[in-house]
Amino acid sequence: MHDLVLLNTVYKLYTMGEVNVTALNGISLTIKKGEFVAVMGASGSGKSTLMNILGCLDSPSSGKYYLEGIEASQLSKNELADIRSKKIGFVFQSFNLLSRTTVLENIEVPLIYSRRLSKTDTDRVTQTMRILGLESLQKHYTNQLSGGQQQRVAIARAIVNNPTLLLADEPTGNLDSVTSMEVMNVFSNLNNKMGITIVLVTHENEIAKFAQRVIVLKDGNLLSDTISQSAMSDVSKMPCESIL
């Protein structure tokens, strides 16, 4: 099988004032289609930088990044935007929804930017809302929703374009433990049932347990990369609706 993500000795250097910071220190990594990867590490370990590069928001200082065989590290700003709109889904810690905008409109935004506005595409919005149990909330403004609901809207927005890679940067960081479990079950299901590849950053071991593979970063280096066998197999067998 084709590697979905291939990082080859990726470096990322920042200059902050007069100090040079090495955020990624030659990371090489492959992620296969359908994997659920958790990225862990202390703050400043390079997790966010890695996510930004994987999400085509940033380019590596050196080294190569291939996404589905395309060398993303060589692309222009507009080509990166194109990849983001068609292949990447983002879920953030602080939800990052458009405020004073309805749930439905938030989920539609990626369709506008990927120029997919046909009937099948708008049907997919409805379908996505159903998967995430947001149908009854579609006319609500996002600032009226609870944290868990907002994060589900953000997930819906991230997957509405059928991304090949779903990136989540501490998606449970702003949620209580019960809601966190709910949201993690959503991710688990998206991975199991729909085969969406997920890379998820977290601090918490509880959350990392949902992933099949855990990568630990330290000071921009890959500290460990372990395949976990205990990956919540019991939850994944449950039907989608019952979790939500």
């Binding site: 930004n52 983001r84 953030f92 004073r100 935004v109 930017y113």
Partner: protein, 402 residues
Amino acid sequence: MLPILKIAIRAIMRNKLRSFLTILGIVIGVGAVITMVSIGHGAKVMVDKQLESLGTNVLIIIPISTAHSAVRGTTGTITLTAEDALAIKKECGAVSHVSPGIRTSIQAVYGNMNWTTFVSGVGPDYQIVRNWQLASGRFFNEQDINIMAKVCILGQTVAINLFGTSDPIGMWIRVNNVPFKVVGVLSKKGESPTGQDQDDMILMPYTTVQRKIMGVTYVGVTLASSVSAEARFEAIEQITALLRQRHRLKPNEENDFSVISQVEFASTIAETSRTMTILLGSIASVSLIVGGIGIMNIMLVSTTERTKEIGIRMAIGAREKDILFQFLTEAIVLSSIGGVVGVVFGIVLSILISYFGSWPSLLSTPSIIIAFFFSNIIGIFFGYYPARKASRLNPIDALRYE
């Protein structure tokens, strides 16, 4: 509706008061441009119309030098005679018609009606020189001049004030207790460029005015017409030379008369009104530009405020162009709304000014269209910089912005 337009309208509606104030600048700018252009256009049309009615080849011969008119006017003798006028017609090749003129204030009486006005003594050429049609009756002929006929022709204002709606032709009016027969009525001419009612006067043969009313032998302001509009300068030279010779002026003596062209006189007024239009239009344009700066200011604030939103949009796939067009559309929607409201405002204001200010204003469709499109161009021009600034943001920094 286009999604981009929907986003722009929502962003505008989010800050209603702010958007309203921003739009107000454009409304005032566009409204002012339309109003000022309408007023200027109206004034120009009015002056043009009057210029046309004056005749482009009319020359005015004034029997006092303009150089020292105050001195001579009080002490000097008036030297222009009817013979001078006839000589001009006979000897100046560039002059086709001459009408000696003499004017005095009188009171005209018909029945129990009376009207204080001017009587103008003129020659048979007067009608041609002034290009003035009769509403009814006939004009004076050579015989009327020769026999000092007691006939008169009424201006519209006089005819209406003395006779109302009845026909004055053939009736007798009394001027200084002398009866005069009305042989014609002039057509309406309206106001002169200086604002006088040209229809408020009575015409008589100049010989009649000289002998029967004033008892003098000289003539006053005499009108002549050159053979063509182009020949008017040549005509002025010929008249000047002839009159100097007839008045036996030595080379070092100044003219005891002046010859001016009516066109130059009227075009001075036209020029003044044109200058005023340009001035008013420029002031109005400045307010439109100030309105544009207002849009730019608000768009800059708006893009800064919405840095996070821009970051989110970029993270979920917005290209630079998408962000650029989003904010540009917002600026254009703002300025277009301002343009539409401004057009309405300008039209209403022009109508009000011409109605209450007795100043002619003429709405011109091109000025409305130009003002509207100009407001859009202002929107694009002043919206481009903030929009480009927004589109150039780095998505990571924008996302982190709080």
